[in-house]
């Protein structure tokens, strides 16, 4: 059984947000419903000023706070490590959104903040979906939080469950430059131009993700909270993790 994990090399990340946009397209997200976001902040004083950015998907924690608080067991951890929401069970109480230390969960009914009309109203659904744009992706699996969600639920990054779950058993690395593995690789990893993202099996000691973590001192966000994320960051000399105490993996 694989234990899927991601490594993000902050030294290579250039803050272009192609991950955000590719994810939004692959998973038919509403504008601003950034399952995969990049957070920008400025530090320093002119002329020695810097701009920093931090790409942030769901951490798919080994010990997820969201699962612990979900009153309906809609949020759960799969055997292969993804933290998912079963939309058929989710009642939209948002407990998980409060419990999650990483802010990676989204409630469908948030008022649009992008200016102009609500896309949900412009492309309404005729059935139980919350909206139905013509570019809607074909995959649909509400038990795993995949597809366009119904109204009043919480949605989140699935580690592209609909792609990754089809990878051949025993796969160590989902490398998008390998044509065989490309279609199973999460959208953000496929899209990343500088190649800052790696995805693979954390339980396989020979996987590329484990090599990166070991060789480049992979760290986890807010590790002191004990959630044990399955997303690791490589800070190199150019990257930084915001406001966190980090420990070596």
């Amino acid at each position: 059984m694989a234990k899927w994990g991601m490594v993000i090399d902050l030294e290579k990340c250039v803050g272009c947000q192609a991950c955000t946009i590719a994810c939004g397209m692959e998973n038919t997200r509403l504008p601003g419903e950034h399952w995969q976001d990049v957070i920008f902040f400025q530090e320093g004083t002119y002329p020695n000023t810097e701009l920093k950015w931090f790409p942030r998907p769901c951490m798919h924690c080994e010990n997820p706070s969201c699962v612990a608080v979900c009153p309906t067991r809609a949020t759960y951890k799969t055997e292969e490590g993804q933290v998912l929401v079963d939309w058929e069970r989710c009642i939209g109480c948002k407990y998980c959104m409060i419990a999650c230390p990483y802010g990676v969960r989204f409630y469908t009914e948030e008022a649009p903040r992008y200016g102009g009309p609500d896309l949900k109203a412009v492309f309404p659904a005729a059935d139980a979906h919350s909206w139905s744009p013509p570019w809607k992706a074909p995959q649909e699996d509400w038990k795993h939080g995949v597809g366009v969600q119904p109204h009043d639920v919480v949605s989140k990054c699935t580690f592209c469950y609909h792609r990754v779950s089809k990878a051949p058993k025993g796969t160590a690395d989902l490398d998008p430059s390998n044509p065989v593995m490309r279609e199973y690789t999460p959208a953000c990893v496929v899209a990343c131009s500088p190649g800052a993202r790696f995805f693979g099996d954390l339980s396989n000691p020979n996987s590329e993700v484990n090599k990166q973590i070991a060789n480049k001192n992979g760290v986890r966000l807010l590790d002191h909270l004990g959630n044990r994320p399955q997303v690791y960051y490589l800070t190199g000399v150019g990257g930084a993790i915001p406001n966190t105490h980090t420990t070596k993996a």
Partner: protein, 845 residues
């Protein structure tokens, strides 16, 4: 009813909302689980799936910037739902920048125009509803042809113009030259390049002989020096830049990067060193770097040459004479400096460089002298290296001279045509030539000497003798009737009424002109249009194009339609051909023979039979399958001052100076001209327009910029990473991700330094007025350390007032185009509009 809140934390009201109706409670699957108490099995039932469809991948290329990355378009059940980079396309390498993924939304944009239309409200204005009514394609095309035929009958065919933006080559803008020839107008293709990046092409043209963008070998480069180019935001090819960034920053040795800009962007922040210079002073920095390189003896002797050794006294006991060198403040004897592949280095030292010390540059740029000297040393001593520049350095009245100083650094350090350096220029694709020649279809009218009229934009005129295009002059020239007034204009992929400097002038001009817009989307041009001939979006088109320069070897790509046009639209090239068929006389015959753009594409692919692509593309079918044709490698290489040509196995053939001149550096001297022949020819013009003494005109030098507008702050309008070609202001997905310094989510912000803001009583988040003698707009301020105290930055492309429901959403700011406060001022040699030099004042609203 059980008290649900005890077990689930739910209120009754919340639960009823979640389930939709109280009566649905039972059906919703409330059950009791012995271990867990009350649980919900199913609040929402996934609707039954439709018929499972096959997902089809069609090959195309992106349209969000000029780079043309190959794309895989994913379509299921006739709906496009995803776009990714094509893996075996050398430019995309399986990747795309954020913009590439927007194509899906652009296809299904809810504001798209659904078919040809004509205006019924004769009054034109920002707030006038054109009252468009749908018409048939036949009526639309015939309306254009009737107007054009009528102009011809009056001998006024020159009063018809096509004004173009991003052309894709042979099947759209590439058709217009023949149209102009046959129909009889010099204004067949008034391009937008003078509001794009013409200065960088002009610099390359006059110094190394290529009027083109350069191909850089980033992945082998060890030092990258970037002047005023958003390398990680907007510089082309963006995806290629980012892919190479990943390589540059993780290879051994790691590529060191220095960025020169006037505000902090992701490029500057990701770099090892950021030099925040005063707007328009990049040239001074580069000159000081050249000064250091020469005075410290760091130039590349194998490419540039060297001083001849001083003849020493024969008497061994006599004191030795000092060797020649470049000493600050002192002239050298040019006869003592023997050059190899450059022309004019010693003279340049004498007329300009000897006094351009880092200390001198510090006074001009505010960048500390020690930083300038450090970068100069690093750049010269780290090989291979690349110095590149774009509009930040060149969109100023001194832009070409700034660019010349920067480009000269590549020659001084021997990085021209070198591995890991400025690798070269774009080689051509093996397209077959069309078997039909327009010349054979010209009638007496088209051949008559009266057809030789000047272009309305003034490019190549006495005022702009070297400029390729001057789109920013069209409105004022036509209004003044100098050289004449336009009657009918067709716009393709450009909207100078928003994107040209002092854009408001276009509103008056377009009131007097019959305007045909071809955009498939609403916009400001559309608001002033009389006729709409909506183009297909790029996912609905068959089209071919050549690459943006990448590594020099030829790459071409094809768009195959992912879906049939979803509305009643027509590919622009086909509309041109259809209009041609309706022009009286032999023109009509020519276009009937051409037929349509599909014929052109298929004809041209015949060229691949003799020159198959490295990926096995030999004809139209294999091209459509792979999406790309390319043949490696780039044919030439300069190494240690020797030029080599690829002989099929390696760079083995040593080239003679004559061959280098013919094939690699086609300047008048066949050398890299630091003393520029073209500027010697135009010395009087340079003197008149820039006040430079004619004898100094040929050399890169410091020319103080003249700033347009008025006020106490410099105003720049950078391009963001998420700026999709033209439409991003109306894409809610873009509005939701606008980052980084601009803060994101709905609006872009005016970046303002805390000191500048404090003096004016402005606080973070305040609404402010940006104004000068040209006009005024309003925006929200972000008080930030990301810009110089003397410079404010507002990203371009936002502030659209007619682009659609999202761009015009209530409360969206800025209130107008950055070009409403940008004076129409142009760099005299290239004609490039001076976008990054202007002055404004900013006040709280």
């Amino acid at each position: 009813m059980t008290d649900l809140s005890i077990h689930t934390g739910l209120t009754r009201r919340r639960f009823l909302q979640a389930t939709g109706a109280a009566g649905a409670l039972g059906a919703a699957g409330l059950s009791f689980d012995a271990a867990n108490g009350l649980t919900l099995q199913k609040v929402h039932a996934q609707p039954a799936a439709g018929p499972a469809g096959q997902t089809v991948i069609t090959k195309s290329f992106c349209a969000q910037c000029p780079a043309r990355c190959g794309i895989d378009v994913y379509t299921t059940n006739g709906r496009v739902h995803a776009i990714y980079g094509t893996l075996d396309n050398p430019l995309a390498g399986g990747k795309l920048c954020p913009k590439g993924h927007y194509g899906v939304y652009l296809l299904y944009d809810a504001d798209r125009i659904k078919g040809p239309m004509k205006r019924t409200n004769p009054k034109k204005g920002r707030d006038e509803d054109p009252k468009f009514v749908p018409i048939s394609w036949d009526e639309a095309l015939q309306t254009v042809a009737d107007r054009l035929n009528a102009l011809r009958e009056k001998g006024e065919s020159h009063r018809y113009a096509t004004i173009t933006g991003r052309g894709w080559g042979y099947t759209d803008v590439g058709l217009l030259k023949q149209f102009g020839q046959l129909y009889g107008t010099p204004n067949f293709n008034l391009g937008h390049s003078s509001i794009c990046s013409d200065a960088s092409e002009t610099v390359k043209h006059i110094m190394d002989g290529h009027h083109a963008y350069s191909a850089y070998d980033y992945s082998n480069c060890n030092y990258l020096l970037v002047f005023g180019a958003g390398f990680l935001e907007s510089f082309r090819p963006f995806t290629g830049n980012m892919r190479n960034w990943g390589i540059m920053r993780s290879k051994a040795p790691k590529t060191k990067v220095t960025v020169v800009d006037v505000h902090l962007n992701t490029t500057g922040s990701a770099a090892d060193r950021l030099l925040l210079t005063k707007p328009g002073t990049d040239g001074a920095l580069a000159l000081a770097m050249a000064h250091v390189i020469l005075s410290e003896g760091l130039w590349d002797r194998q490419f540039v040459g060297d001083f001849v050794p001083v003849e020493q006294p024969k008497d061994a006991d006599a004191p030795r004479l000092p060797e020649h060198k470049f000493e600050p403040g002192k002239e050298v004897d040019p006869a003592t400096f023997k050059e190899i592949w450059t022309v004019g280095v010693a003279e340049w030292w004498n007329v300009e460089l000897k006094d351009r010390t880092p200390e001198w540059a510090e006074k001009i740029t505010t960048v500390p002298a020690r930083d300038i000297a450090a970068v100069a040393r690093e750049f010269a001593l780290t090989k291979p290296a690349v110095a590149l520049f774009e509009r930040g350095a060149s969109a100023h009245t001194n832009g070409v001279y700034n660019g010349m100083a920067i480009h000269a650094l590549n020659a001084l350090t021997g990085n021209m045509f070198a591995k890991g350096g400025l690798r070269g220029y774009q080689m051509k694709t093996a397209w077959a030539k069309l078997p039909i020649k327009a010349e054979d279809f010209m009638d007496d009218y088209a051949k008559a000497p009266e057809r030789k009229k000047p272009r309305v934009d003034g490019a190549k005129s006495k005022r702009y003798p070297l400029a390729k295009n001057m789109i920013q002059e069209i409105a004022i020239n036509s209004l003044k009737g100098e050289p004449y007034k336009l009657d009918t204009v067709m716009f393709y992929m450009t909207g100078p009424i928003f994107s040209a400097p002092d854009c408001s002038k276009w509103e008056e001009a377009l009131r007097q002109i019959f305007v045909i817009d071809t955009s498939p989307y609403p916009g400001e041009t559309n608001r002033f249009a009389d006729l709409i001939l909506p183009d297909n979006t790029y996912l609905e088109r068959l089209q071919i194009a050549d690459t943006y320069p990448y590594e020099g070897y030829p790459i071409s790509m094809i768009r195959t339609p992912a879906v049939k046009p979803i509305f009643d639209t027509k590919t622009f090239g086909d509309a041109v051909i259809e209009i041609g068929k309706r022009i009286k006389g032999p023109t009509s015959e020519y276009y009937k023979k051409i037929g349509n753009t599909e014929n052109i594409v298929k004809w041209m692919c015949e060229g691949f039979k003799d020159k198959p692509g490295d990926n096995g593309v030999t004809d139209f079918e294999t091209f459509a399958q792979k999406g790309v044709w390319y043949r490696k490698p780039y044919a030439y290489l300069q190494e240690r001052g020797v030029f080599y040509e690829w002989d099929g196995k390696g760079y083995n053939k040593v080239m003679t100076p004559e061959e280098v001149k013919a094939k690699v550096m086609p300047t008048p001297t066949g050398k890299f001209e630091i003393k520029v022949t073209e500027l010697e020819h135009h010395a009087e013009f340079v003197h008149e327009r820039l006040g430079i003494a004619p004898e100094r005109a040929p050399f890169p030098q410091w020319v103080a910029p003249r700033h347009g507008g008025d006020g106490d702050l410099h105003f720049i309008s950078p391009k963001l990473a998420g700026q999709a070609e033209g439409r991003s202001a109306n894409l809610p997905h873009v509005a939701a991700m606008i980052q980084p310094t601009q803060g994101g989510k709905r609006n872009v912000f005016l970046e303002m330094h805390p000191e500048a803001a404090g003096k004016r009583g402005i606080k973070d988040g305040d609404r402010v007025r940006i104004k000068n003698k040209v006009g005024k707009i309003e925006a929200v301020v972000r008080v930030t350390h990301t810009t110089r105290p003397d410079t404010v930055a507002l990203p371009m492309i936002h502030g659209h007032w007619a682009q659609g429901r999202w761009a015009q959403g209530a409360g969206r700011l800025p209130t107008g185009s950055t070009n409403e406060v940008t004076e129409n001022l142009s760099e005299p040699l290239s004609g490039l509009a001076c976008f990054h030099s202007g002055l404004v004042s900013v006040e709280k609203v």
